[in-house]
Amino acid sequence: MTSEFLERTRSTSQAGGFARHFAAAREWLSSERAPVYIFAFIWCLGVIVPVIISAVLSLLKARGLHIVWAVSLHAYRDIVESGRWEVVVRTLTAAGIVTAICLVTGFPFALWLVKRAKSQKLTQFVFMALTVPFFLDPSARTLVWRGVLGSTGLINAALMKLHLIDAPIEWLLFSDFSVYLGLVGPYFPNMVMPIYLAILLIDNELIQASADLGATPAATLRNIVIPLAMPGIIAGVIFTFVPVMGDSIVPTILGGGKKEYLADTVMSLSTAMNYAGAAAFATIILMLTAVLAAVFLLFRQRMTLARGIADRGITA
């Protein structure tokens, strides 16, 4: 980004002195791409650097707000010894289940939305309905589930009134079930949106051609639609899995504190002013994200590679 600028200043520096430098800098600053690079620089300084610094802190010791400048794996050893790695496993399981539910329901829904939904109005309505959740207060809409699922909540009260049950169903609230239920809804749009956009780009003629050549709908789905929608599916899985893994609101409100999730742990560590420990967990969350992204990218590369070989096999 600055190489161009440096090049220009270097070439002028031999001919003239400070004035030339100044003129070159002014010319670069007045170009329309300068704000983008300047903003990107500030962005990196303000956003990317904190992430790196936190990873560094997780390798140091901290006493309250004071940093002890000695390298130590103390924070990570703590995680293993205190049995908190169980929290990582539990969170990954929850995130995996929620993501799977969103994928299994979201992919066909996106496909229907693009290829089958009859009226433009309906598509727009659904699209709108899936955009609005990004702008709702997460704690307020989660809190209400307590009034629905609790032992005196809507569902239990209704079932008791209808004499379908004698005692309230206890596992509805403060259980894995309520956590999953609270997470599936808000993150469903994260899955549907990328897949929707990917399917939107698939040409109808390709699908028609596949049908004309005698492929069953299932074969067309497997060989045409899914491979072409793969970038959207991968983006959807990452956009769902990662925020679910880091969600701190739903497990706290609907989990009942009996079972800890990753975000609960980060919050309790930070409340206890164990910032090195919190940083270690934040770093673990980021690493898991990076691994997930890398696995998917590799998977995709191998798939395109395999398809390339298959294509060559057909033409040979």
């Binding site: 329309e32 990107a40 704690s139 589930w145 009134k161």
Partner: protein, 280 residues
């Protein structure tokens, strides 16, 4: 096998296939709309409970607007609301300016477009809690700055900027650069080119960026928890009341019903605005 029986067989296979597809579509719709209901049912129920005379009972008995009148007597929510609005306006302004500066040029860049876009959209794949704790550690522990309104604005901006940028890019990536070249050929100054040609065409992107910034900031919680210091925003107020299991649940229901109605109206408006611009 005679031709007739074969025809019959093919016909039946096709019918079975159509029926299977029909079932699949029905299952899809039930699941898809079912989960969409999971998003909106709590919001509707929030509204119902806010006018229920006993909000802690499972089945609402009688309805009352009394809790809403209560908002006038118990005004502890007012200060957090004002703080939230101040922050939201600041974030919205920052989003409009930065999304315009970056979004209008990004599609025209010849080099470095992909890595820049990736860096700007990065917060979308970083969980909020990680942003919160990382910003706290960096600014509070390493730079020893005092947390407050500015750090809330910062984390809200980090959260909102990718959305604002996407809103802007939806419009700006369809912008025809030849219009600007034509204006330059006709002797328009750079400022005039921006004001008379780009600005009118990009306005809906700017408005969307501002609305996204405003709404995302107004309802942001997971990042705020870590960097708020002694400042209290409205979501933090809700959160604190939720965690303390206080008796003021009806106040929370009323307040958040109003916020939800405003959020839904504004977001529907901004998405509609963007859709209209893209179509025309």
């Amino acid at each position: 096998m005679t031709a007739a029986t074969f025809d019959n067989f093919a016909h039946r296979a096709a019918r079975r296939e159509a029926r299977l597809i029909g079932i699949a579509i029905w299952l899809t719709l039930i699941a898809g709309f079912g989960i969409t209901t999971l998003i909106y049912a709590p919001v509707v129920w929030l509204g119902v409970l806010s006018i229920s005379s006993d909000p802690l009972a499972g089945l609402p008995g009688s309805f009352t607007l009394g809790w809403y009148y209560g908002l006038f007597t118990d005004t502890r929510w007012l200060h957090p609301l004002i703080v939230s609005l101040e922050i939201a306006v600041a974030v919205s302004t920052l989003c409009m300016i930065s999304a315009t500066l970056v979004g209008r040029v990004l599609p025209r860049l010849k080099r470095g477009r992909a890595p820049l876009l990736a860096a700007f959209l990065l917060p979308l794949v970083v969980p909020g809690i990680v942003v919160g704790i990382d910003v706290f550690i960096y600014y509070k522990m390493f730079l020893t700055l005092k947390m407050g309104i500015w750090s809330l604005i910062l984390v809200h901006f980090i959260w909102a900027f990718p959305f604002a940028l996407i809103g802007m890019l939806v419009v700006s990536s369809r912008f025809d650069v030849r219009l600007l070249e034509a204006a330059a050929d006709l002797g328009a100054s750079p400022w005039r080119r921006f004001w008379d040609i780009e600005r009118p065409l990009l306005t809906s992107g700017v408005v969307t960026a501002g609305m996204f910034g405003f709404l995302l900031s107004l309802t942001e919680l997971p990042r705020s928890i870590f960097v708020a210091g002694h400042t209290q925003t409205l979501p933090l107020f809700t959160w604190a009341e939720t965690m303390s299991r206080g008796s003021h649940v009806s106040l929370i229901y009323c307040l958040n019903t109003i916020i939800a109605i405003v959020s839904i109206a504004l977001s529907v408006l901004s998405v509609w605005l963007l859709g209209r611009r893209v179509k025309s």
